[in-house]
């Protein structure tokens, strides 16, 4: 099901059970721990304008309903504050199943092959990470605000990195 709520920056494609609260970071029927997510979880990235991604989302929705793709999210509008001028779709999956998911994407015309792990994404948003620092620079934040945001990022990420055996819990978006 496509969840398009205007107050969210993202449009999601969820299985109804996941929309109702079932975890989506699951492998072989078991919810993944933080350590497993850091090791295996990631996403294929698809870039394009929103109309193209809307069409692709509609075509991929049946695969989400069939649980062949765990979930998808994509930008409602380009993230201009990060210098983007097109939208990004993230097609989530476990690394161990990424070839199956890529085959689906390729069958729908995706050619640029780019897989990013959650660990890589978190590293981009860590204190000192290039995206977090760029975000704060673009917003013109003062040094105290920047430090507060770095501290918040540090705390959020430490819940994942410092608790490897705890079941992964995604952040609200």
């Amino acid at each position: 099901m496509i969840v398009d709520e205007p107050e969210s920056h993202f449009i999601f494609v969820w299985h109804p059970a996941i929309y109702d609260g079932e975890p989506y970071t699951v492998f072989d029927g078991k919810p993944m721990t933080n350590a497993q997510v850091l090791k295996y979880w990631g996403k294929w990235l698809v870039l394009g304008d929103k109309p193209r991604l809307d069409v692709l989302a509609a075509r991929l929705d049946p695969y989400v309903e069939a649980r062949r793709i765990p979930c998808i999210k994509y930008d409602r509008a380009p993230s201009k504050n990060l210098g983007m001028d097109e939208c990004v779709m993230m097609v989530y999956c476990d690394f161990r199943k990424r070839d199956e998911v890529w085959a689906i994407l390729a069958s729908h015309g995706v050619r640029l092959k780019a897989f990013v792990t959650e660990r890589e994404t978190m590293e981009l948003w860590m204190p000192g990470g290039p995206l977090l620092e760029r975000f704060m620079e673009e917003k013109g934040m003062d040094p105290a605000t920047r430090e507060a945001i770095r501290d918040d990022a540090r705390k959020r990420l430490s819940t994942v990195f410092d608790n490897p055996d705890v079941e992964f819990s995604p952040w609200a978006q």
Binding site: W44, L45, L47, G48, D49, S79, L82, G83, M84, D85, E86, V88, R98, W102, R111, L112, K113, A114, F115, V116, E120, T121, L124, W125, P130, L131, R134
Partner: protein
């Protein structure tokens, strides 16, 4: 050896509007240098202040080369290279 390079819409102005290019080299770095020779806009972007490889994510067959050997990552005929803005990885 030639490899196919895929380019998203936001970077196509560096490549004359093309969504695909061919580069020759035995490593990612050699392929990017080859692309820069044939696409002056890409060359200019790589060398401008605030630009360069640090603003991009480069993939070989879907894998981020920074997890491998970076620009020294080897490529073979039939491999594909993908180039996207760093911000898209977040």
């Amino acid at each position: 050896m030639p490899v196919a390079v895929y380019i998203p819409g936001s970077l196509r102005n560096w490549f004359g509007g093309a969504d695909e290019a061919t580069a020759t080299g035995s490593t990612v770095g050699e392929c990017l240098a080859d692309l820069a020779r044939s696409h002056p806009s890409f060359d200019g972007r790589l060398n401008e202040p605030g630009g360069g490889i640090a603003t991009l994510l480069i993939f070989v067959n879907g894998d981020n080369v920074m997890k491998d050997r970076g620009l020294e990552t080897p490529v073979s005929e039939g491999d594909t290279i993908g180039i996207i803005p760093l911000a898209a990885g977040g």
